[in-house]
Symmetry: C2
Subunit: 303 residues, 2 copies
Amino acid sequence: MTAIYGKVALIGLGLIASSMAHAMRRSGAAEVISGTSRSAETRAIARELTLADEITDTAAEAVRDADLVVLCVPIGAMEAVARDIAPHLKPGATLTDVGSVKRAVIDAVAPHLPDGVHFIPAHPLAGTEQSGPRSGFAELFDNRWCILVPPENADRKEVARLARFWEALGSNVDEMEADHHDLVLAVTSHAPHLIAYTMVGVADDLRRVTDSEVVKYSAAGFRDFTRIAASDPTMWRDVFLTNKDATLEILGRFTEELFALQRAIRTGDGAHLHDYFTRTRAIRRGIVEAGQDTDIPNFGRGR
Amino acid sequence: MTAIYGKVALIGLGLIASSMAHAMRRSGAAEVISGTSRSAETRAIARELTLADEITDTAAEAVRDADLVVLCVPIGAMEAVARDIAPHLKPGATLTDVGSVKRAVIDAVAPHLPDGVHFIPAHPLAGTEQSGPRSGFAELFDNRWCILVPPENADRKEVARLARFWEALGSNVDEMEADHHDLVLAVTSHAPHLIAYTMVGVADDLRRVTDSEVVKYSAAGFRDFTRIAASDPTMWRDVFLTNKDATLEILGRFTEELFALQRAIRTGDGAHLHDYFTRTRAIRRGIVEAGQDTDIPNFGRGR
């Protein structure tokens, strides 16, 4: 294919950025890829893997002459990076990001940008429980959604170009308003992650059940929670701190509902439990039918 | 191999029983397999699949001359079945079950048994989100734990024989006391399932986020919960009603911990969140190292 952007700069070289590098290579979506990380160790690994055409020591060097700059750092680091690169951005370049929260990224980044730079926040809904420059792979975005959150006055031509870029990386592309994005993700991602972290923490904390029992007998359901709860701690700390309101709202609803089910257990209300568990089955069917998960039992483990 | 039991009777023909039938065939652990289900439709499917050597219309017929009788019905149905089959059990036979709660099964079944029958409750920690006679497969128990819960006065020779039987079906075998079993499973299975059911119910219930958004964007974490929340409603209703105390205790601990994390989010205590999320990562490593889950990212989806 004809490249969609001349030079693409990746700021940060973790799971998402390294997967983007592989997917750009696979698709030819970029002519040249530059990359950088604050960590010298990460830069050394990236050079060893030849993740990009050039791995620079500073973000300022990486973004020089770049047509697309992608912020792939934890949300809490976005503002400092934006301030750092702003004077070095090429006029007419597009700046985007891959953060899991959008309102906070907009508030942190937008004030620092010079006129003539197109800021189009984005969020690829893809990831694994692994992190770092070695964890990336080209297929990460295949058939996953990437949500663009363009400002109202965005240049539609540049929005369409960024959409084509993500499609070339394998994604389906949608647009959403920032606050609605943050609420939807609080439901489908942020609250589930906090709940999984909590359950794993509780298991680790009990005195009457040993850690080795928890590990040994985890196949009974618990192990699914531990996968989610193995995700990157810095990234997730920043998600919760920056999507505070929506996450707390969903957790509030969750707690209400959990109390109602606990009451049903306590009072022996089997009909309530059975109805509830029947309803939740339908959602699973919808997800499998929409191609967003496998229908192989146990995610195909042990078959 | 030489058969471990002459005739094995399966009462109930769902996921566990049909998997046992396949695994007995694979291993030769039984000379003859009989089976029955309360549902005529299930019996017809079992006959079509030739799941057992004989599919009988009643439990009384199925257990006739059986050396091992396995109760594979929801926990709430165990007492009625025990009362029903008790007069027909062969003297010296072993009666076992596969229920996810052990104290309640013992209380429901033991009073009905004639002298000379060995009652050795058991719980294979294996399953998928699917159910019914077509969902079984021979590998379900491979490298999974099966916990035996023999009474104090059990005949050790018969306990050892039942252990050999489960090993022949692919399991690793452990022994535990009934109440401790119920507490361990509340942590590794029952509380996680209720939490997953709750989170999926909350997502389904919101008015500000549509079902189609929940389905579309589920890959961000939520879909793992929906797999668990697609499990059999009747089985799980009975689990919660019969393991009430341990489940409510763990859910109480869970709620405390969740409130502490919510407070950390509200007050912006990033260090607390980061520490917590770092600790939970270690548990995941332990589970992968113990061979109880895959270390392939995302359970191998999309790679």
